[in-house]
């Protein structure tokens, strides 16, 4: 029996799901429940997850809560510095539809308009159990090859960039045309 390409991919996925390294970036108040998840009660290191300092080293990005536009810029920068395959978990209601801040002028309402999100966790704020559950869900998706947010980002890069620009400029009009050299 010989291993074909798919089998190697399966092995790679198996490895990458058991060793998800997280970016150390507290984007919002959801980060408050990260310490409990990391420590003795919930201990996410059981699944091989731990926080890494820089985006280059990391695989999974927990967007912990609402994103101010100023933070969105940093989030996109960090997300683009992460290496494929990379996954995003949208954390809390704020990333889904704005949550408490549905009418705030400075927070974006739907994270998936700006970067692809693989898993959402509902709640404000989500309990550690929910977070652990989302990790398991993500692992399951990776295993099945369904966590393809990073592929989507490459494929629809122009659309994502355009949306990001609109948010950065706080206006819909006057969005500059996407330059040729920007497209990857």
């Amino acid at each position: 029996m010989t291993l074909n390409h798919d089998d190697w991919g399966k092995v790679a996925r198996m490895m990458s799901k058991r060793s998800l390294w997280m970016v150390h970036f507290c984007t919002g108040c959801g980060a408050m429940e990260m310490p409990p998840v990391m420590t003795s009660r919930y201990d996410m290191e059981r699944f091989g997850m731990h926080a890494m300092a820089t985006p280059r080293q990391a695989d999974v990005f927990l967007v912990t809560g609402y994103l101010a536009v100023k933070t969105l810029k940093r989030v996109v920068q960090v997300y683009e510095q992460m290496r494929d395959p990379k996954y995003v978990i949208g954390f809390g209601s704020c990333t889904i539809n704005g949550g408490m801040y549905w009418d705030s002028y400075n927070t974006i309402k739907d994270l998936s308009k700006y970067i692809p999100v693989d898993v959402y966790i509902a709640g404000c704020m989500p309990r550690p159990e929910a977070i652990i559950d989302s990790f398991l869900k993500l692992m399951d998706m990776i295993d099945k090859g369904e966590a393809i947010g990073w592929k989507k980002y490459h494929k629809y890069y122009d659309q994502y960039k355009k949306n990001q620009r609109m948010a950065y400029a706080y206006r819909l009009d006057e969005v500059e045309d996407i330059k040729e050299d920007d497209a990857k």
Binding site: V23, H24, F25, C26, P35, A68, T107, R127
Partner: protein
């Protein structure tokens, strides 16, 4: 060709283990010494104050607790107290005691995080892990009482949302006993650790004569050598009925006085002592708590009209003075709610000033020891 500069620039945050939440210190470093620091905030700006003007008085209660995540209860308490002040309400006695208990529990849980954070920033991850792990027991009690782990929305204008469950006393005593048992371990790991003392003593000093002028409050002010605490100066909740001593430099209790104060070591020591103090306060409050109502008989929630006026209410949070400046024009919605977070001065002016001449290695511990929490800067 790029301009040649002697300094190099480092960003401590937002995506940095040394950042205290989502904020950024932009530092210019020459060799190993920080020459200039600028605090960059606004990453967490949600426009709370704007949103609060759009919501009716009661709707704001769930909103305010989101201002300071590690210790949300102080926001609820101070907002409620501001409304009560404007309304002229006197809340039931039992509610005062419950508020005291809740606020002190919040203080312990925030201090556990901070002390653990200081320890972690210097490399004692064990202490940080234990601290957060032990904090979880407190969160369990919170959950039992309020129904939520983090955002409790328990303290309301007019008292507290509901009475505490019957077994609270036993539960809480158990947790407090456990925490008291753990304290010596933390002391050995952190405050009595020789390497920690070397790293922390005489580092990140706020000059004593400038501390008040710079607006330093809370444990940081007490570490600078002032016995000033708003729980004593302007007692709220049930603090006037409770007997407690505020620890301050150089009265560090059982800990050695190793420096001229106001450094990382002293700030950590003060926080450790305050945790023990809080445990005492909770025990007293549990003992003295009277029976009775916990919530005033309100008018209909949505029909409140708060009398016109100005109110400033302050609460001694784990970080310092947490104040709410509330202006009402007699309508259903506040005209203006302005929050004074303690980190506003600590994180920006104080940190920018004392950072000069700091070693790069000491920067993050200093920032964390000031207990800067970005959401209460930009709200």
């Amino acid at each position: 060709m790029k301009p040649i500069e002697k300094e190099y620039e480092l960003f401590i945050g937002p995506n940095h283990p040394g950042a205290t939440g989502n904020m950024s210190y932009h530092i210019w470093v020459e060799g190993d010494k920080v020459k200039k620091a600028e605090t960059r905030v606004g990453y967490l700006h949600r426009g709370f104050e704007k949103l609060m003007e759009k919501r009716i008085w009661m709707q704001n209660v769930p909103l305010v607790c989101r201002i300071c995540v590690p210790e949300p209860d102080v926001n609820e308490a101070s907002y409620s107290m501001a409304v009560e002040d404007l309304m002229g309400w006197e809340i039931p006695e039992r509610a005062k005691y419950i508020r005291t208990i809740i606020l002190e529990m919040a203080r312990i849980s925030a201090h556990l995080l901070t002390v653990g954070g200081i320890a972690a920033s210097l490399g004692i991850y064990t202490a940080a892990q234990w601290g957060v792990g032990d904090r979880d027991y407190l969160l369990d009690v919170f959950e039992q009482i309020t129904g939520a782990r983090v955002y409790h929305i328990y303290i309301w204008p007019g008292g507290v949302r509901w009475d505490v469950p019957k077994n609270t006393k036993e539960l809480l005593t158990k947790v407090l006993d456990y925490l008291e048992k753990r304290m010596p371990l933390y002391e050995d790991l952190i405050i009595k650790n020789k390497v920690f003392i070397r790293r922390a003593a005489d580092v990140g000093v706020i000059p004593k004569d400038k501390a008040i002028e710079w607006g330093v409050t809370g444990p940081n002010l007490r570490a600078a050598g002032y016995q000033l605490d708003f729980r004593k100066l302007e007692p709220y909740a049930a603090y006037d009925k409770i007997d407690f001593e505020v620890p301050y430099y150089p009265k560090l209790g059982e800990y050695e006085v190793l420096s001229d104060g106001s450094d990382i070591y002293t700030r950590t020591a003060i926080r450790m002592l305050e945790m023990q103090q809080s445990i005492n306060i909770i025990r007293q409050a549990l003992k003295d708590m009277p029976e009775g109502d916990v919530l005033l008989k309100h008018p209909q929630w949505f029909a409140w009209k708060v009398p016109a006026g100005y109110s400033y209410v302050r609460v001694e949070s784990s970080k310092g003075e947490f104040g709410y400046f509330v202006v009402s024009d007699g309508g259903k919605k506040p005209v203006r709610v302005h929050v004074r977070g303690p980190s506003y001065t600590h994180g920006i002016n104080v940190m920018e000033t004392i950072a000069k001449g700091l070693n790069v290695a000491d920067f993050a511990p200093t920032a964390i020891s000031l207990d800067v929490c970005p959401p209460d800067i930009e709200r």
